[in-house]
């Protein structure tokens, strides 16, 4: 509470005292961090419905609750539309003088940008209500028809998420450098988002287990979460490296400059930290079978991955507006406000209902899951 108040005061002060650019880039960074974490969690929920997984039914309320970050962060994204004139070069006549940017003016213009952002928020909120709201209602009714409905809707949600995450990545992140263009960028952001969702789910699961609210969730369930973290840290690195390799090989000026800004000096150090701590270290730690079900180790790895997802976004966003890494009281205030606000919001949602989907007919089967 105190941290949140402190953060709120700091953010308010930053709004009046800081350069506008610094304030808004922090805003974009933090709403994207919590939004992608929520969307990754919602994807995990949808994945369970699509493949008909049973082991994860006892855990499902955890990602469902974290996905509760999506509606408020969607609202924060709409507030973020105020940043367009400050942060995004394509909004000014000067930025449009570059023929490569002018050619994209049909896509990169303020009304269309706002329309896309609003459409994304609307689609996410509707998906959240269908998938999570339905599941919460099932707690009371125990109506098995929800499972069938969710199973039909989940593949559609995956398509929606694929398109909206790509649009979000292109619009909010890569259009900070409107000349730059990368096909795979949406997949890269999705990989980070899903990993963040998994890490947050793991953290919150372990927290709830310690609090005694997830009776019956054993080491075998944790092992599967650990396996997911293990697999998708490789996926993130694979996609990230694929993007880098092609640009490195082709060496086309309008592509490599983006990496040029982010490879040298302190930004290069951050990229190295990402390669080691977002991929190599968690990868090596999670290789042994036992490691995937050891709660304390898993907690540490998940925390690390969440922090690295933040650093990944920081590394993508900040070089566009700052010469070197920037971390002062405004950044700290944003961290305090959004982190404490996000944790408070998720815990409030969790405390309002059951910690497991008690109405789901497959809950028992999920609890009996053994490797």
């Amino acid at each position: 509470m105190l941290a949140g108040a402190l953060g709120l005061a700091g953010v308010a002060a930053a709004f009046f005292l800081c350069e506008r650019e610094r304030f808004w880039i922090n805003w974009v960074l933090w709403f994207l961090f919590l939004l992608t974490t929520g969307l990754g969690s919602l994807f995990l929920v949808a994945l369970e419905h699509v493949v008909g997984a049973r082991w994860s039914v006892p855990l499902r309320r955890v990602p469902e609750t974290i996905a509760g970050l999506v509606p408020p962060m969607g609202a924060a994204a709409l507030v973020g539309l105020l940043s367009l004139g400050t942060l995004y070069p394509w909004t000014s006549a000067e930025g449009l003088r570059d023929p490569l940017v002018a050619a994209k003016a049909g896509w990169l213009n303020e009304p269309f940008f706002a329309l896309r952002a609003a459409a994304c928020v609307l689609l996410w909120t509707v998906s959240y209500v269908v998938l999570v709201g339905g599941s919460r209602r099932q707690d009371q009714t125990g109506d098995p028809r929800f499972n069938r409905r969710a199973r039909r809707f989940a593949p559609l949600f995956m398509v929606i998420l694929g398109l909206t995450v790509t649009v979000t990545a292109f619009d909010w992140i890569s259009s900070l450098e409107p000349v730059w263009y990368s096909d795979i960028f949406g997949v890269y952001v999705f990989a980070g988002a899903f990993l963040a969702g998994l890490a947050a789910t793991t953290l919150f699961t372990l927290h709830l287990r310690d609090a005694g609210r997830l009776d019956g969730v054993g080491p075998d369930h944790l092992h599967n979460l650990g396996g997911f973290l293990f697999a998708f840290t490789v996926f993130w690195a694979y996609i990230g490296f694929a993007q880098y390799l092609l640009m490195w090989y082709a060496n086309i000026p309008e592509e490599v400059f983006w990496y040029g800004e982010r490879l040298h000096g302190a930004w290069g150090g951050i990229l190295l930290a990402l390669a080691l701590l977002h991929f190599l270290v968690p990868f090596l730690i999670l290789i042994p079978r036992d490691a995937k079900s050891r709660p304390r180790l898993l907690f540490g790895v998940a925390l690390l991955m969440l922090a690295m997802h933040w650093l990944d976004l920081y590394w993508m966003l900040f070089p566009s507006v700052a010469g070197g890494p920037l971390f002062g009281w405004p950044e700290l205030s944003f961290a305090l406000l959004f982190l404490s606000g996000g944790i408070w919001w998720v815990r409030r949602l969790m405390d309002r209902g059951e910690a497991m989907p008690v109405g789901d007919p497959f809950l028992r089967e999920g609890l009996e899951f053994r490797l």
Binding site: L245, I287, R370
Partner: protein
């Protein structure tokens, strides 16, 4: 080989995986024998119920993955960086970025092969064609919708009646005593001969097919994607450029790498130039390489003006080792290499300064070779 007597195992057949897991709890520790389960699909919790130790496969895969990564790295460093360094797209010959995909694939290959083959061949000892369970009557059920729990003998004798009672108490729906297969007899000479004959025939057929296949279809290229490209081959024409040629001449004034651009001396001034290189064996070798690569197609390997292109070209290049050609000074030859003469284009963009002078040396060697002195031969005085 196996002196064990008596049945191989007593097998209880269960209707559900839960019944099987329950039975394992009841039977485990009550016999001195090994327990084994047979199920049509992986049953969750089975290996823990049977008390299996951790499989060594994970460690094997990890080690072989590392071996794969290192092999790929050494292979790439050696081929790209050492044995055949080839600059691609202006990148350094040792570029870790370019190595990563191959490193990744070889690591996965080694790890996957180790996991698959290590599990099947090394740990499960397949193919176990003489495994007693293959003769079990219940095997057809166990691969379909029933679940088996067997008390197996590793060589020691079993007590079938007691074990059958134990399994029935544990809930088995049916019991089978699985006998050992009869010991294999010595292979009959006829069978051996037939097998050897079949192998020989197969070898002959493969050899014959390969031999005649290559003879009949010598230029059959299975995959020609890389060859059949919409591209211009060397020396081919093209309507794209005004001069009708597909190849582009170097930009005017181009000099080869490593050769500093310097004003070209005119023909008269060149006459008196002195070859700056010593007449050493190493210089001759460099000169020969330069000459054979750039000059010999027209001037001939012997310098007699009868290169492989002479007939097709029509004109006759200068005979370098006789007549007027032989009278040219070192400086005059150097000047022609740099500036060209008549139909001969300048070679300043192909040959470095050193290569030009080494080639001049080599032309002198060719001349000397035509009427060599006794002292030029090995063993002769210098």
């Amino acid at each position: 080989m196996n002196p064990a007597q008596g049945p191989f195992s007593v097998l209880g057949v269960f209707d559900t995986p839960d019944a099987l897991l329950e039975a394992i709890g009841k039977v485990k520790g009550r016999t001195g024998h090994r327990l084994e389960a047979y199920t049509p699909y992986p049953v969750h919790g089975l290996d823990r119920a049977l008390g299996y130790r951790k499989s060594p496969i994970g460690g094997m895969v990890f080690v072989m993955g590392l071996v794969g990564a290192l092999s790929a790295l050494v292979l790439e460093l050696w081929t790209s960086g050492w044995d055949y360094p080839l600059v691609t797209a202006g990148k350094p010959v040792v570029s870790w970025e370019a190595f990563v995909p191959i490193l990744f694939e070889i690591t996965v290959l080694f790890a996957a092969l180790t996991a698959g083959l290590g599990m099947l061949l090394l740990l499960n000892r397949l193919p176990a064609l003489r495994h007693p369970m293959l003769r079990s009557r219940s095997m057809a059920l166990l691969t379909r919708d029933r679940f088996g729990l067997a008390v197996e003998s590793a060589g020691e004798p079993l007590d079938p009646e007691a074990l059958a009672l134990l399994l029935e108490d544990a809930g088995a729906a049916a019991i089978e005593v699985v006998e050992r297969p009869p010991a294999p007899g010595p292979a009959s000479p006829k069978l051996l001969a037939a097998a050897l004959g079949a192998i020989l025939l197969a070898c002959l057929a493969a050899a014959g097919t390969t031999y005649w296949g290559i003879k009949l279809f010598p230029r059959l290229i299975p995959m020609a994607h890389m060859l059949d490209q919409p591209r211009l081959d060397p020396q081919s024409g093209s309507s794209f450029f005004a001069d009708g040629s597909g190849m582009r001449p170097p930009v005017a004034g181009t000099v080869s790498q490593g050769a500093p651009p310097r004003p070209l001396p005119n023909a008269e001034a060149s006459e008196g130039l002195v070859n700056p290189l010593p007449g050493s064996a190493a210089v001759f070798r460099r000169g020969r390489a330069a000459y054979d690569t750039h000059c010999a197609v027209c001037h001939g390997l012997l310098g007699n003006g009868e290169g492989s292109l002479t007939d097709a070209y029509g004109a006759r290049p200068t005979h370098l080792t006789a007549g007027a050609g032989r009278e040219l000074s070192d400086g005059a030859i150097y000047h022609v290499i740099v500036s060209g003469k008549n139909a001969m284009p300048p070679y300043s963009s192909d040959l470095t300064e050193e290569e030009r002078w080494a080639a001049v040396h080599y032309v002198r060697v060719l001349e000397r070779a035509l009427d060599a002195l006794d002292t030029d031969f090995q063993g002769g005085a210098r």
